[in-house]
């Protein structure tokens, strides 16, 4: 084997190049992080800054905002739209869009009410049919996109109207169906909280997992003569995360605790993040979003990737619709209308998923929706009319897209 002319003896395989700066330990990790930020790879920073600002502004205007009870309430709102936003992340990764997620969620909630309450279906059957409906709608979008070449923007825009029409048709003249309050699904959507011991235990889990997988990865990398990340960085990361989560759980436990529905949302986020980063499917998603032709030539079935993304998006939208019906205790004509669509898309973008494809993560849905719902919740607490709320949320979305575009330009000029 030819030796690399630039290699320095005694260094591991991936750190052998003499021109490579060796970022070791905590200081190195911080420096690498700063380099990334300067080159336009902002990651979670806009969200963190935004949340701190929101907390300061709204809690000074109305101290109720930061009370544990209000925050638990906020997490309920996050879960429903957040799940829809998770689906949006899938299509955004491909550089596509689904504008009909609001209507899809409304249709799902109408299906739930009509089948379950009016027609006496078992609740599981009604939920399943709503999800299947979502998958079918996603498959239609994908077919229109793959076979006819219809831009997803147009296909889903027409879907927005068609699905809304179907929702109104199903609900008929009554306009809304109330779901009985004593049923498990509605309790799940309104006041089912985790026992405190369980939420504390679960708060320890992410740190433990990071430590465990991190140590395993270090061992394997060292065995393969690759540089292993510094141990101190790993420990600090796990510790900071655990302390932060324990604090959040402790604070929420002062009120009613962590809603089960939010736990479900977080679970879905973690599963999707694993799928995005650690599976061949996820890698193919990023590849198609980055360079469709390159992905096709690499033997990736591009059409199937588009199909999977659209189906996932609409199915998650349907799931979000079912949960929001449970949250509201009714299936109504208003479900899924108004700002649901925009909130779901804005959350993904604010969280750091690029509108231009090939860049993003499942966590962006989680963080973005917390920002959106915090603003929405804070404005509601201030008794502002929805006219002002819409204007402010519209401005926030515009700001998020501006940040995304500027960061993209900066990345291009820094070669990233």
């Amino acid at each position: 084997m030819t030796q690399n002319p630039n290699s320095v003896a005694g260094r591991s395989l991936d750190r052998a190049d003499a021109r490579l700066r060796n970022d070791e330990g905590l200081g190195g990790a911080l420096r690498a992080f700063w380099d990334r930020v300067r080159s336009g790879d902002l990651g979670m920073i806009p969200v963190a800054v935004g949340l701190v600002l929101i907390a300061i502004v709204f809690s000074t205007l109305n101290p109720v905002f930061l009370r544990p009870g209000n925050l638990s309430n906020l997490l309920y709102d996050c879960a429903t739209t957040g799940i829809i936003s998770l689906g949006i992340v899938c299509v955004l990764l491909l550089g596509e869009i689904d504008l009909s997620v609001g209507s899809m969620s409304g249709l799902a909630s109408a299906l739930l009410g009509v089948l379950w309450i009016n027609n006496g279906w078992p609740v599981a059957g009604a939920i399943l049919l709503a999800l299947v409906m979502g998958a079918a709608v996603g498959a239609i979008y994908a077919t229109l996109f793959n076979r006819v070449g219809m831009p997803s923007f147009v296909a889903t825009l027409s879907g927005l109207l068609a699905l809304l029409g179907l929702q109104l048709y199903l609900l008929g003249t009554t306009g809304s169906i109330n779901l009985p309050f004593d049923l498990a699904l509605v309790r799940f959507g309104q006041n089912l909280y985790m026992p405190n011991w369980l939420s504390f235990l679960l708060a320890l889990l992410p740190g433990a997992v990071i430590l465990y997988t991190g140590l395993g990865a270090r061992r394997r990398r060292q065995a393969a003569n690759l540089s292993a990340g510094s141990l101190s960085v790993l420990v600090v990361k796990a510790t900071v995360l655990t302390v932060a989560l324990l604090f959040v759980v402790w604070y929420l436990a002062q009120g009613r605790g962590v809603p089960w529905m939010f736990a479900l949302f977080v679970l879905l986020v973690v599963v999707m993040e694993y799928a995005f980063t650690r599976t061949k499917w996820g890698r193919s998603m990023f590849a198609v979003g980055g360079n469709r032709e390159a992905a096709r030539r690499a033997g990736i079935n591009v059409r199937r990737i588009y199909l999977s993304a659209f189906v996932l998006c609409s199915t998650l939208a349907a799931l979000g619709g079912v949960l929001s019906a449970a949250r509201l205790g009714s299936s109504s004509q208003q479900a899924g209308s108004g700002d649901v669509n925009l909130n779901a898309i804005a959350a993904a973008v604010i969280g750091g998923t690029s509108l231009f494809g090939g860049r993003g993560s499942a966590y962006s849905a989680l963080l973005g929706i917390i920002v959106i719902q915090a603003i929405s919740n804070g404005l509601t607490l201030l008794n502002l009319s929805s006219s002002l709320r819409y204007m402010i949320l519209g401005g926030v979305l515009a700001l998020a897209v501006i940040v995304d575009s500027l960061a993209r330009r900066s990345r291009a000029s820094h070669g990233r």
């Binding site: 084997m1 030819t2 030796q3 690399n4 002319p5 630039n6 290699s7 395989l13 991936d14 190049d17 021109r19 490579l20 990865a217 394997r220 990398r221 393969a224 003569n225 690759l226 650690r278 599976t279 061949k280 499917w281 890698r283 193919s284 990023f286 590849a287 979003g289 980055g290 360079n291 032709e293 390159a294 992905a295 030539r297 690499a298 033997g299 990736i300 090939g358 860049r359 990345r411 291009a412 820094h414 070669g415 990233r416």
Partner: protein, 277 residues
């Protein structure tokens, strides 16, 4: 320093001419698109450890020939023998599985993914739990075999220079251990130093015992790296040259006449030189 040892070694140990059975051998290959015959009775041999340059003017059929070998187009007639057996290159994946790798001019890299992800794109290890360590180790192995100048394989490809991207594309094509590798305009749009690096890369691939086909418009690059130069003109073979042959003959074969705009320009310049002297 391997650069020094390369320079001191006999410059071209493999330039002793074709040896043994060719890796790929085309006989009377023709390709028609309706009434247009893009290729007519093409003959081409590429041996192991040999760089064959394919040159010709625009529309000479170079790209069509490469696409036939890559399995994108199927020939209308003629035979292709690969590793001594007659084969049908029915599809790009069939050609790839057989051991014919192609690096297209636009490289087809995903700029948002890192080097490892690009090298293993579509061929990841363990689809349900990607084996990043194994893929990274193999990537370094491939890159080191090419003595490549890639500082880090965990940077997105967007941060790499043109020459480095070419290196990644070539490393990716070597992943499946092909017998023949085709490079379409590998030095187009590269700077002087980067061009030299890519030419080094081509020589290293050749020294690994692969057959190499290079398409290029740049006669200097072709002369620098090729063992044989196959000229196509209007879809037909128009002579085989070695880098030792005169530029004049080569240009004449490419343009199809000894009297052409290139030779007229050279004649005029030479006359001007004499006039000055």
């Amino acid at each position: 320093m391997s650069d020094v040892s390369l320079a001191q070694a006999p410059r071209r140990p493999t330039r002793s001419g074709p040896r043994g059975e060719p890796v790929i051998s085309l006989r009377n290959v023709s390709k028609n698109f309706g009434a247009v015959s893009a290729l007519t009775d093409i003959e081409l041999d590429v041996h192991a450890g040999e760089v064959v340059a394919l040159v010709g003017d625009n529309g000479a059929g170079k790209s069509t020939l490469v696409k036939v070998l890559a399995g994108v187009h199927q020939p209308s007639s003629g035979t292709i023998r690969f590793m001594g057996r007659e084969v049908a290159l029915g599809s790009p994946s069939a050609a790839l599985d057989m051991g014919i790798a192609t690096v297209f001019q636009d490289l087809a890299l995903c700029e948002n993914l890192d080097v490892v992800a690009n090298i293993f794109l579509g061929r990841e290890k363990d689809p349900w739990q990607l084996d990043e360590v194994a893929m990274e180790t193999r990537s370094w192995q491939l890159l080191n075999e090419l003595a490549a100048r890639i500082p880090s394989v965990r940077e997105p490809v967007a941060s790499l220079s043109g020459g480095q991207r070419q290196t990644v594309a070539i490393a990716r094509s070597l992943l499946l251990e092909p017998k023949l590798i085709m490079l379409d305009e590998p030095t187009a749009a590269l700077g002087v130093a980067q061009t030299a690096e890519v030419l080094n890369l081509i020589e290293r691939v050749r020294d690994k015992g692969l057959g190499v086909i290079v398409i290029s418009h740049n006669m200097d690059d072709v002369r620098a790296v090729a063992d044989r130069i196959v000229v196509l003109r209007l879809g037909r073979n128009n002579g085989v040259f070695t880098p030792a042959d005169s530029q004049h003959d080569l240009i004449a074969a490419i343009t199809g006449a000894s009297e052409n705009s290139v030779s007229r320009r050279e004649g005029r310049l030479a006359a001007a030189q004499e006039g000055l002297a």
